[in-house]
């Protein structure tokens, strides 16, 4: 393992200590492995609670901030947080306007967030759930409930967070977030495995010179493995799958997110974006907004994912609204 850590078991808690020491004016921890905006609860605002396994920063904690989510339940590496943590996060951010649980579609997370929702509702909180289900590679279009959530959720935080910040009702925030999510698809490619600190060995093997298209952010098997191809081919293939899934084409406006999985230099992400852009433009799709960088990682996995989201003027306005979190903002 090439890791800057102490005891693997202490990894998540020491990471959290570091985060709280680094950003004391932006974040606070009302309970173990729960982090919320320092200014939560914000009266009259829909509270957005997220969470999931560690090892994906800036996902999930990085999306706690102004114009984004309000609280996060932090799981062990690649493992769901507990229902109790989600409940604690809910209590800490609830401001009477209802709560949106927004997280990725993984069985452990769904079970724990659902349980937390029951408990929170029993305490009188109003709770709605929207799942990130953007990964084209994880299930056919006919089975959306089985699709897993990957980097595209970054755009959903932005949409939901801006809506909530504007004082919209829970129903309104849910509606626009669901609409954004329905038009959002992603697909990734992995070039190397990653190693869980507690396991000490790579989750899977992916020899140098090979790539796996469609691999998930926990190393879930993808749709095809083969020799590493040029960036232009990879970009064309990913865009092709995404555009097919979204059936988008001439006249459609989209936002694009090119995400690095951890070890891939930002330079390569831009080389990839070049082909992604070309693939969209050649189909008559107009790229209205672009983000390139690390938004959802898999520890030190090499690789990237591409997310495309259909835009309407309302969603575009929410994407353009101000947002700021200590883990995302570099200044």
């Amino acid at each position: 393992m090439r890791k800057i850590i102490n005891h693997p078991k202490a990894f998540v808690d020491e990471m959290l200590e570091g985060v709280l020491l680094a950003h004391p004016s932006s974040l606070r921890s009302p309970a173990r492995r729960v982090v919320v905006r320092a200014d939560a609860p914000r009266q009259g605002k829909v509270g957005i609670v997220t969470g999931g396994g560690s090892g994906h920063l800036p996902l999930f904690m990085g999306y706690v901030g102004a114009g984004l989510a309000d609280g996060v339940a932090v799981g062990d590496v690649f493992a769901s947080p507990s229902a109790e943590q989600v409940l604690e996060a809910s209590r800490a951010v609830d401001a009477g306007a209802g709560l949106l649980y927004l997280y990725g579609n993984y069985s452990g997370d769904v079970m724990n967030f659902d349980l937390a929702a029951e408990l929170a509702m029993a305490e009188g909180m109003e709770v709605a759930t929207v799942l990130g289900t953007d990964d084209v590679a994880s299930a056919p279009e006919t089975e959306p409930e089985r699709r897993r959530g990957v980097a595209g959720i970054a755009l959903l935080y932005k949409v939901a967070g801006a809506g909530a910040e504007q004082g919209r009702s829970l129903a309104e925030v849910v509606a626009v977030t669901e609409r954004a999510g329905a038009g959002l698809r992603s697909m990734g490619v992995a070039l190397s495995p990653c190693t869980l600190p507690a396991a000490g060995e790579p989750t899977f093997s992916l020899p140098e010179g090979q790539m796996e298209i469609g691999m998930g952010i926990h190393g879930e098997p993808g749709v095809s493995r083969g020799p590493l191809r040029p960036a232009a081919d990879i970009g064309a293939e990913l865009v092709g799958h995404i555009v097919d899934a979204l059936s988008c084409g001439r006249g459609d406006d989209v936002a694009v997110l090119v995400n690095g999985l951890g070890a891939t230099p930002v330079e390569e992400l831009y080389v990839l974006y070049r082909s992604v852009h070309a693939g969209l433009v050649s189909r008559g799709v107009e790229v209205r907004r672009t983000w390139v960088g690390e938004y959802a990682t898999s520890l030190e996995m090499a690789g990237a994912s591409v997310s495309v989201m259909r835009l309407d003027e309302e969603i575009l306005g929410l994407l353009d609204a101000p947002a700021r979190s200590p883990l995302l903002a570099r200044w």
Binding site: Q85, G108, G222
Partner: protein
Amino acid sequence: MNEALLADLLAAAAGALEDAAPELNRLDAVAGDGDLGVTMTEVARIAREVLAAGAAGVPELLSALGAGIARGAPSTSGTLVATAFLRASRACGEGGEPTEVLARCFGAALDGVRARGKAEPGDRTLVDGLASVSASLEASAADGLAWQEALARAAEAARSTAQATAEMEPKKGRASWAPQRALGHPDAGCSMLAIVLSAAAARAGA
């Protein structure tokens, strides 16, 4: 079955889980994210803690295990195991022969896990393992077998079901995203159940 005996069996199971961690990681990695051994090591640690703390009785012990695991090891398998303990805790209190109690507990665990995880038998999940264990215990109870013998048969059922899952296409959980990858390898969660029951049965000395 009293609390001390149950604790002894559970301690044996915890030890087996710890020993099997690398194998469980490997099985989970075939089609999942390779952390089932990591999670089960944590489950074992929590179980030892709860056992060391002791409890007023069997239901209390089981519910303390469920709550502790739900809090401390909340991944898919951890949450399901926690659910199983919590349901077993509610089911075990009504008396009866030990084999009947065991059968009731595993029946309740099966129902709980199905409700929480929404998997059906045949989906290649823990549900398959629990279903066959539960059926085996029901049969043993009907036949009036001693609990040690019932446990041994249940372990045998868990092992053969785990083997059978190698031929099933996964429908739930991470493995379902690339169903063909899983073929030929037993489901990690079912293997975990087989390991746990085998250790408990061996300890029971049947």
